[in-house]
């Protein structure tokens, strides 16, 4: 992209090519990114054409007036070409894995294979109704059943539910099972969940949501759970300890054996947040190690797309203790195990397993997402998945090695799939913050890493390269980080002003929060009540 420079060659047309109102998004890029008016602004009464047959004129007559919509529906009216142009142009304003390197720590922004997209759109999968009789859903049921077996193998657990819609949802499912377990044993006083301060925000939020009190314990110098603090916190009120492993610092919890002993010794259960499983596939099986329950994030470990924020899937694996409490409906196979003979599959019926915690969502899972995870796992096989983890860990350590020096690397330990680096010294010397460095990376063509997370490291960034990025890309990214560190010394204002070369520049987030504008003005009818 050319950076034109001279303001006098900037187009100042009264109305721009995209039909945006003058002065709103008047400056527009020709090829590629162009800020867009809203659908409401593009709307003209009478536009659009019939996508379905016209209903008979009296179709609604049988519905009484109280039930019928009185006011006309205020949706935008566009014709198909405008709809397409709007969204295609909007799409080009996004940075994405398909356009560049996206080392967002804790998010595992790996490549999303295209066969997965193809598979999920196969009519047999896509058009199947969630309440389809079991006999008509044998293909999908078999797929789900196999996927459960594979996740059980990877986790070293006894069984898996595919129902949860995301990692956080998996956490909730797991925590509810833990409560059901304690209650089933008459152990009803356990109302606390312990989480380390470096845990992902969903962990304490989940505990609260399930009605537990959250007890936070500090990590030690080395970024590991402080075993003494844990022991002190454990007690007869402890229902569970939630541990992210590898942690959000990209570190494997070394003291895991002692830790699990302590947890179990206190009668509590151990929940492992498995969002970071991309580091340890085939290397570490949480169930075997002694965890009682864990969740996966298919949109991290198993390459299902992140979709601009979702959808994902958060399967939960449990050990024998918790099997009775799994959400219903489970997928059942006859004969039960992977034996010979023609297998039939079915869903559990209502009430069939009374100890179940119940449903955690409308239907049996984000099957369209799970098909993709299934395809991914089958593409790799066991060895391929191990290779994934090896490459992810190698890339993270290599990149850490490359930027060490220009940035502080607070933890000496070998990293897993991601690492933390800090700009604390840069800030002290130059005033340039990690936020500025992140924004400056945008000008260099990269998506910034996760910054200021985990909150325990000052001026930190969490960098997760994943296994699908080439060494050339890793090197280019390291070069950019080093170059920016040098820019910060030479010309801090330059870095603080970044980004320059993006569709928009830094935003006024304060006003957005003070005077929230969460929708366009209603297209018909009353003025909107402005949220406070």
């Amino acid at each position: 992209m050319t950076a034109v420079g001279e303001p006098d060659v900037r187009v100042e047309a009264a109305s721009s090519a995209n039909g945006a109102p003058a002065g709103e998004s008047g400056v527009r890029q020709v090829v590629g990114p162009g800020l867009q008016p809203t659908l409401a602004e593009l709307s003209r009464p009478g536009r659009g054409s019939s996508k379905v047959p016209h209903p008979p004129a009296d179709a609604m007559d049988r519905i009484s007036a109280t039930h019928r919509r009185a006011q006309p529906l205020g949706l935008p009216e566009l014709n198909e070409p405008e709809v397409i142009r709007h969204f295609v142009n909007l799409s080009q304003l996004n940075y994405s894995v398909d356009t560049g390197f996206y080392p967002l720590g804790s998010c595992t922004m790996k490549y999303n294979p295209k066969i997965n997209e193809w598979a999920a759109r196969l009519r047999g999968f896509a058009a199947l109704h969630p309440l389809a009789p079991d006999d008509t859903a044998q293909g999908t049921l078999e797929m789900l059943w196999e996927l459960e077996q594979w996740l059980a193998e990877i986790s070293g657990m006894a069984a898996v539910t595919l129902q949860p819609a995301a990692g956080a949802h998996g956490e909730l499912t797991g925590i509810l099972m833990i409560r059901a377990y304690h209650h089933s044993r008459g152990d009803t006083e356990r109302n606390e969940v312990i989480v380390p301060d470096s845990s992902h925000g969903t962990n304490p939020a989940t505990a609260s949501m399930a009605g537990f009190k959250t007890v936070t314990i500090k990590s030690d110098e080395a970024g590991q759970v402080d075993l003494a603090a844990l022991r002190a916190a454990l007690g007869p009120r402890t229902a569970a300890v939630m541990l992210t492993n590898p942690s959000t610092l990209g570190l494997f919890e070394k003291g895991i054996e002692a830790l699990l002993d302590a947890v179990h010794g206190a009668g509590a259960l151990a929940y492992m947040d498995g969002a970071n499983m991309n580091a340890v596939l085939g290397k570490f099986r949480p169930g075997r190690a002694g965890f009682d329950v864990m969740h996966f994030n298919t949109h991290k470990t198993f390459s299902t797309p992140h979709g601009g924020g979702g959808p994902g899937a958060g399967p939960v694996a449990v050990n024998e203790k918790l099997v009775p409490f799994l959400p219903w409906p489970r997928v059942l196979r006859t004969p039960p195990s992977d034996g010979p003979g023609d297998a039939r599959f079915r869903l559990e019926r209502r009430g069939e397993r009374p100890a179940s915690i119940g449903r955690v969502r409308s239907y049996q899972g984000s099957v369209g997402v799970l098909v993709r995870a299934y395809a991914y796992m089958l593409a790799h096989g066991g060895e391929g998945l191990e290779q994934v983890s090896e490459d992810a860990v190698l890339a993270a350590n290599y990149l850490k090695q490359r930027v060490r020096g220009a940035y502080q690397v607070p933890y000496a330990q070998v990293s897993k799939h991601e690492f933390v680096a800090s700009a604390q010294e840069i800030r002290a010397r130059t005033g340039v913050r990690m936020l500025d460095i992140a924004k400056r990376l945008i000008d260099y063509g990269f998506h910034p890493p996760t910054i200021y997370f985990p909150l325990t490291v000052e001026e930190g960034m969490l960098v997760e390269p994943t296994e699908t990025e080439s060494r050339e890309t890793l090197d280019a990214f390291a070069d950019a980080l080093i170059a920016i560190a040098a820019e910060a010394e030479r010309d801090p204002e330059l870095v603080r002003g970044a980004p320059y070369d993006s569709p928009v520049r830094r935003l006024d987030e304060a006003t957005a929060a003070r005077q929230p504008d969460l929708r366009w003005r209603p297209m018909t009818g009353a003025e909107p009540v402005c949220p406070q």
Binding site: L35, P53, P55, A59, I63, H67, R68, R69, L73, V88, N94, L104, I115, E117, G124, A127, H129, L131, D135, T136, E142, E153, A166, H169, R179, T202, A205, V280, K283, A289, H306, G308, G309, G310, G314, R350, V360, R361, Y363, Q364, V367, G368, A379, E383, G384, L394, V414, H447, P448, T468, S470, R471, S502, V504, D517, L518, R519, W520, P528, V529
Partner: protein, 449 residues
Amino acid sequence: MTYGPHTTTDRQEMLAALGIESVDELFADIPAAMRAKGLDLPPAEDELSLAQRLEALAGRNRVGMATFLGAGAYRHHIPPTVDQILSRGEFYTSYTPYQPEISQGTLQTIYEYQSLIAELTGLDVVSASHYDGGAATAEAALMTVRATRRERVLVSRAVHRHFVDTTRTYFEGGQMTLDELPTLDDGTTDLAALERELADPERPVAGVILGQPNAFGILEPMAEAASLAHAAGALFVAVVEPVSLAVLAPPAEYEADIAVGEGQPLGIALQYGGPYLGLLASRADLVRQVPGRLVGRTTDIDGRRAYVMTLRAREQDIRRDKAASNICTNQALCALAATVYLATLGPHGLRDVAALGAARARDLELALADAGAPRLHSGEYLNEFAVRVPDAPRVHAALLERDIVAGLPLAEWYPDDPELSDALLVCATEVTTADEISRFSAALREVIG
């Protein structure tokens, strides 16, 4: 088949840069006793073999039948514009728009989504998305608890069974209680019972939840229910079906405080249950209680219009255990599908979809009544209703053999209700054809005998 780029040389050079010999050294931090020794999984497949396997699996599902199954998830015509946009890598391979400067595509589409759902419901604050209708209902129930600081929620038994199930699961073990309201013969919720429950001073009610249409397809007296709830200081939650809002009164009109629903009908494939889209809209003054993401409009430092995630102090990554919900990854791409769907259809198109479904449902009603399966409830319906069929489960199975999915035997949802043991819940939409209806009624006549 793997997708990684590293050649053997790449790996060796990176190891050398780290001063180590083998990648095993990078895993030395895993205690030896816990080191796994490989995985017992099926062998890797090349892309062609994988494609053949997936096609075979998909082919084993029977999706070509005449189907009258709805019950919360509906067959609709999805304009091809939706998938054209959804398959753009810029949308589906990006993530949560943490860096607004390079995420305006996602941010603006979410803002548009919020605006469109606000237009449909008449409620001004729309959460960027929840997992599905069930999860959204549960979140709304929790929201009434937070907003009123009361702990009891009333839900009609004629709210989608799975939404009630889900809410119950979310409530399980906490301090909160969820009580069900009975229904009348006409299929509507018993408002007298509601009034009684609300009157109990010992157990103040946080929220009242009704469906419109309800789980039997019947239209509820929403305005009356809302005013009863409000009179008792409770919030009123409407569970709505979004396509129906093109022709039915919007929740704001009957003074719902919160509307939730399943967004799947808005351009999302059935997919055996997900990913779907949890709709959640509320009155503006409840904004701080709203779970999940919100996108607001603002400007950049050069004064250009721009969008950003806002009011984030409700979210888990900022507030941790004080967050309004634990939701993190949500259903952004499904919300995009709904946005493209609504933009493509427009107000008249959406109305046509809803009204045509209603018309086809009326044809279905007449055809089934004629074949010996009259309606079960006397209340008004839009495009879904229950019919009474002797020996419903057997009839359902017999019709399946004739390639007809005769809706849902309501006994699956209400196994303990003898009233419903002979009921099938059937629906029609704009894709239901006259031919399908006559095949259904002919086969039914045959099977009932």
